[in-house]
Amino acid sequence: MKKTLLAIGLGTAVSMAAATAAYAGTLDDVKSKGHIQCGVSQGLPGFSNADAQGNWTGLDVDVCRAMAAAIFGDATKVKYTPLSSKERFTALQSGEIDVLSRNTTWTATRDTALGLNFAGVNYYDGQGFMVRKSLGVTSALQLGGAAVCTNTGTTTELNVADYFRANNMKFEVVAFEKSDEVVGAYDKGRCDVYTTDQSGLFAQRLKLSNVNDHIVLPEIISKEPLGPVVRQGDDQWFNLVRWTHNAMLNAEEMGITSANVDEMLKSKNPAVLRFVGKEGSFGENLGLKNDWAYNIIKQVGNYSESFERNVGPKTPLGIARGLNALWSKGGIQYAPPIR
C-alpha cells in the first residue's frame, strides 16, 4: 500500500523525496495507486464544497467522480486536495494532483505558457455586477463613481478596472481575500456594487441579510470558461478527461440518465448502444473498459443531473442553465459524438 504521507524531518531534503513525479502515463499511475488525486477549490458553493460529513460535492467535484467511475467503475475512488488559487498550478505541475478541477478560467497564457491543457468547459461563466435596488441603476454603464467590492488576486479585480476605464467612469475598488468578507462588506453598504463571476453572485447572495433588496445587472463583462485542467504531454490522460466530460453531455443529449441507463442497455438505438458499451470499443481506445460511460452515468449522472443537483434552480443557488444548456436547447454546451 502506498502511503507517502510525510517523510518527517528525519532525513535530508533529498531523502525526503515523496517522489510522485511519474510524468509519463498518468492513467497507469492512477490505476496502480487506486485513486485519482483531484485538485479542488477550498470551498465554492455548488462547485466544490465539503458537507457536514466531509463529503465533497459540486459540479467540479463531479468531474473527478465521473473520471473515477470511468476508470475504476467506482465514483468514490477520488481523493481531494483543496487548493488556493495561488497553489493550484504549482500543484498540478509538480504532479501532486492528477487533475485540477477548480473553477479555473481557460486563458491563452494558462493553456500555453504554464504548460497546462484545458480538457473542456464544464461551466460557462462571466463576470457580473450586483447592486442595491434602491440605487435605481439598470445598467452597469450608470455605475460611474461607484465603490466596487470584489475578490483580490484574481482576474475579476483587473477586469473591473479595465471595464470602468474603458467606459471612462470613476470608481473605487475595495478588494478582499475571502468572498465572505466581500459579501459582508457589500451587505453592510461599504460598496455600491458587488462583482464576481455570476455563479458566485448566485451563491453569495444567500449570505445577504435581505436578498430582495438587490438585483444583478444584465451586463457580463468577461468570458470565463471554466474547466478541468491537466498537464501537457500526456495525451491519453488528456483524452480521458475530455471524453469523460463529453460523455456526460452526450448522455444528456440522448436522454440517458442514471435512472434509465439500465434500460438503455437494451435500447435499439445504435448510438445509445455505442455509448453504454454494448457496441464498439471506445472504452478500450481510451485505455478503459467498455462500460466506462455506463458507469459514469450510473454513478454520477449526466451533465443535466449534475447541474441540477449542484447549482440548478432547485438548489439554494438557483442558477438557470442559460449558456450551459445544450446547443440544441439554446445553450453552447456541445459535445462531439461518440462514434
Partner: protein
C-alpha cells in the same frame, strides 16, 4: 488629697460594656462600596481633587455603559434573535421564512450551523469511524501534559521524555495510521551518517592515540542510531489502522497538532539556539544570532506564505512536502526563535557564581549546562515559556490564510456549504471560535500566573 486610685474608684467602670455593631457606614456593602468605588469620586476639597473626582465619575459611568452595551449586543445576537434549530441554511435566512423569521427582522446567531458541524469543527474531515483515534490521542496526551504542569506530580524527567519523545511518535502513528512509507534513501542516509561518525572517531583514535575514544563516542553514536532506527521502524510499521491523509486533518485537532508540535520542537531547538547565542565560538554565535533575529524580525504570515508558495522551488525536482509538514516546520522554527530568547533571558539571570562554582568542580561545559545552569534557568522562565506557547496557539489561526483547515480554516470551508449559506453564519462561527480560543488561552495564562506566584514567594507585599 485623693489619689489616682480614688479617682478611678469614682468614674472608671469596672465592668466591660457589651460589644456593639460598628456603624453602618463602616461595615459590609456600604463600607466596601465607599472604599472601593466612591472614595475616589467624592473628594472636592481642592480644584485638582475635584477635577480628578469628576473625571473618575465620568470614566466609571462610561465603562459601565460600554460594558452594558457589549452585554446587550451579545445577548441580542446570541440569545434573543438567535435561531436555535434548523436542518439547513434556509432556517437562518429571513427570506425563506422556514425559521418563521419575517423579512426585515434582525437575524441573530445561527446556532444550528454550529451544532450541525461541531464534529467537523473539532476534527476536520477526519473520517467519523476513525475519530476514536483522535480522542485516544487526547486521552494519552492530557495526563502527560497535566503531569508536567502540576508541580506535585513526581518523576518530571520521565514525564518529559514521554511527552517530548514518545508521545509525538505515538500521536503521529495514531493520527495518520502509521505504516508511513519511508524512502529507502532515508534509511541509507542515516546508516551512512552513523558510519561516518564511527569512522571519524576511529580515525582520530588511530591518528592521536586517544584511548577509549572509540568506545565512549561509539556508545553515544550507537544509542543515537538505535533511537533513530527505532523511530523510523515504528513509523513505517503497519499497525493495520486505516491511513488518514493530512488533508483530512482539521479543526481544533489540527490547531492542537500545530500548537503541540510547535512547543515540542521549539523547546529543545530554542535551548540549542540560546546556548548557541551565548557560545564562545564566534561562528556558532553569529549563526544563532542571525537565525533568531531573522525569524523574529518577520511576520509569521510572510514565512507561512513563503512555505506555501516558494518552498517547492527550494528543493530538487520531484521533492514534494506535505502541506501540513511545511506549516509545521515553519511554525516550529518560528516559535523556537522566540523560545530561544526566553531561555536566553533565563540563562542571563543565573548568577556568575554558578558557572564559576561548577568550573571549579571540574565539570565540563555540557555538564555545567545541563546539570547546573539550564535546570535553574528553565525553572525561572516557565511563565515565559507558557506565554510563548499562548502566542503560538493564537498564531495557529494564521495557517488558515495558506489554506489549511485549522479551527478558523474549517469555518471558512463550512461557510461555503451550499446547504448552509446564510447571513449570520460567519459571525456565529467567530463568536464560537473566540470563546474556544479564549478558554484555552485564558487557562494557560492563569497557569503561567500561578507558576509565577509559586516561584516568586517572599517578594509579596
Amino acid at each position: 488629697m485623693a489619689t489616682i486610685k480614688d479617682h478611678a474608684r469614682h468614674y472608671v467602670r469596672t465592668e466591660m460594656l457589651p460589644e456593639q455593631a460598628p456603624p453602618a457606614g463602616e461595615v459590609g456593602m456600604r463600607k466596601w462600596l465607599w472604599d472601593n468605588v466612591f472614595s475616589s469620586m467624592t473628594n472636592f476639597s481642592t480644584i485638582g481633587a475635584a477635577i480628578s473626582s469628576i473625571l473618575m465619575i465620568v470614566l466609571t459611568l462610561a465603562v459601565i455603559a460600554l460594558f452594558w452595551w457589549v452585554i446587550v449586543v451579545l445577548y441580542k445576537f446570541g440569545w434573543q434573535d438567535a435561531i436555535w434549530s434548523g436542518t439547513d441554511g434556509s432556517f437562518c435566512r429571513p427570506e425563506d421564512n422556514k425559521g418563521k423569521v419575517p423579512i426585515g427582522t434582525d437575524i441573530g446567531a445561527c446556532w444550528p450551523f454550529i451544532t450541525n458541524r461541531i464534529g467537523q469543527f473539532m476534527n476536520g474531515f477526519y473520517p467519523e469511524a476513525e475519530r476514536w483515534r483522535i480522542y485516544l490521542t487526547y486521552i494519552i496526551g492530557a495526563p502527560l501534559i497535566a503531569g508536567l504542569l502540576m508541580p506535585s506530580v513526581p518523576r518530571k524527567g520521565l514525564n518529559a521524555i514521554l511527552l517530548f519523545v514518545a508521545f509525538p511518535i505515538v500521536a503521529t502513528i495514531l493520527l495518520s495510521g502509521g505504516g508511513i512509507e519511508i524512502a529507502g534513501s532515508t534509511w541509507i542516509f542515516w546508516a551512512v551518517v552513523f558510519a561516518i561518525c564511527l569512522a571519524v572517531l576511529f580515525g582520530i583514535q588511530m591518528a592521536t592515540g586517544a584511548k577509549g575514544l572509540l568506545m565512549s563516542g561509539g556508545k553515544v553514536v550507537l544509542m543515537a542510531a538505535i533511537a533513530i532506527f527505532a523511530i523510523l521502524f515504528a513509523l513505517s510499521f503497519d499497525f493495520g489502522l486505516p491511513f488518514v491523509e493530512t488533508s483530512k486533518w482539521g479543526g481544533l485537532m489540527l490547531t492542537l497538532v500545530i500548537g503541540l508540535t510547535g512547543i515540542v520542537v521549539s523547546l529543545p531547538l530554542g535551548i540549542v539556539l540560546a546556548l548557541g547565542r551565548r557560545s564562545q565560538m564566534p561562528a556558532v554565535r553569529l549563526a544563532s544570532t542571525i537565525f533568531i533575529e531573522v525569524w523574529r524580525g518577520v511576520p509569521l504570515i510572510t514565512v507561512l506564505f513563503m512555505s506555501s508558495v516558494m518552498l517547492p522551488l527550494f528543493f530538487a525536482e520531484g521533492v514534494s512536502f506535505d502541506k501540513l509538514i511545511r506549516a509545521l516546520i515553519v511554525v516550529a522554527l518560528f516559535s523556537s526563535a522566540y523560545m530561544a530568547e526566553v531561555v536566553r533571558g533565563g540563562l542571563q539571570a543565573i548568577p556568575k557564581g554558578q558557572y564559576e562554582g561548577s568550573q571549579a568542580l571540574g565539570l565540563s561545559y555540557w555538564q555545567t549546562t545541563f546539570l547546573i545552569t539550564m535546570p535553574q534557568a528553565l525553572k525561572l522562565v516557565i511563565p515565559g515559556i507558557v506565554n510563548t506557547f499562548i502566542g503560538l496557539f493564537k498564531d495557529t489561526t494564521l495557517v488558515s490564510i495558506i489554506g489549511l483547515y485549522d479551527f478558523l480554516g474549517i469555518l471558512d470551508s463550512a461557510l461555503q456549504d451550499t446547504n448552509w449559506l446564510a447571513p449570520t453564519n460567519q459571525m456565529t462561527g467567530f463568536l464560537f471560535m473566540a470563546v474556544v480560543y479564549w478558554v484555552f488561552c485564558f487557562s494557560m495564562s492563569r497557569y503561567s500566573m500561578y507558576t509565577e506566584n509559586r516561584l516568586h514567594t517572599g517578594h509579596k507585599r
